[in-house]
Symmetry: C2
Subunit: 178 residues, 2 copies
């Protein structure tokens, strides 16, 4: 039986950081450099601390997220050796639910609806691996954890870290023989 | 630590059977009696076999489902002794996602968004108990299974059966001391 992986959406296959920075520039006229926010929390990344939650509740935000570089080909490759589930903690933003479903259908049409999960917290998710950018999701997970690099998680070093999708593939190529 | 329960929506806390029968009468002019459909599959419950899926894809179907008798008070009571998660295999019907979120907010406002899961199949759900009307969800579950009576599951006898919410409370009252 194939081993299973729960793959997060925001910050892992969807590039929320770029969308946040672009929207902040559009609405506030200030372009924040990625280097300026290293180590900050997501809701503290901008001078206006209310901006991130406001954007996340704005219709269209999740529907128009850029795809993370390399994610499409990498997820497709992983599906050859693993049962891949997309698991997104989307429930805090109810308007995001149909947007995320449509986004996946557009960019990852090869992922069956049976393998998509939208949840609140991820504590009841049971897969062999979890790839996520949020420590709060990884810390309560029983399987093998992989933290996907993001500006807000740079100071946490208690999970195996990958910097990009290329590194995910290198790591999981070894895991498939374990 | 409290034990956890995954509680299904359709057919368990939401009365899909009544809604299907009412909508069929409204659209086809024929009222099917609950006794006529005992033992039939859900998609074979009406003379027009396409009706059930058509209704399930119709905007408003899930938003206007009647609440199953006794469900609100019983779920509230269970929450005193258990971690309750609402877990619905909603992903096949993407339009149902915001409808189900709104329905829960209206009828079960005491359930935190962190405890709501919309998924495809339920094979990666990890709780101590699962209450569901569908054998396909219970059969692959690792914890204790409880089948909630429905016309379409009457011939399956390999899970502990409850006929209504009163029986759930009686059963779980014993379980909390295990």
């Amino acid at each position: 039986m194939k081993k299973s992986i729960a793959i997060d959406m925001d910050g892992v296959i969807a590039d929320t950081e770029t969308q946040f920075i672009n929207w902040y520039e559009r609405d506030y006229g200030v372009r924040i450099k990625p280097t300026e926010i290293i180590g900050l929390k997501e809701d503290e990344m901008f001078p206006d601390k209310t901006a991130v939650r406001k954007f996340a509740f704005t219709p269209g935000f999740f529907r128009t997220l850029p795809v993370m570089q390399g994610a499409v080909e990498s997820v497709k490759a992983l599906m050859e050796s693993f049962e891949v589930y997309i698991v997104s903690a989307a429930m805090e933003f109810p308007q995001s639910l149909p947007e995320k479903a449509e986004w996946l259908k557009e960019h990852f049409p090869f992922i069956d609806w049976r393998h998509i999960v939208f949840c609140g917290d991820k504590s009841i998710i049971n897969t062999d691996y979890m790839i996520d950018d949020h420590v709060k999701n990884l810390d309560y997970f029983n399987g093998t954890t992989i933290i996907f690099h993001a500006f807000h998680n740079i100071n946490f070093n208690h999970h195996q870290r990958v910097s990009n999708w290329e590194e995910v593939l290198v790591l999981m190529e070894k895991e498939r023989y374990l």
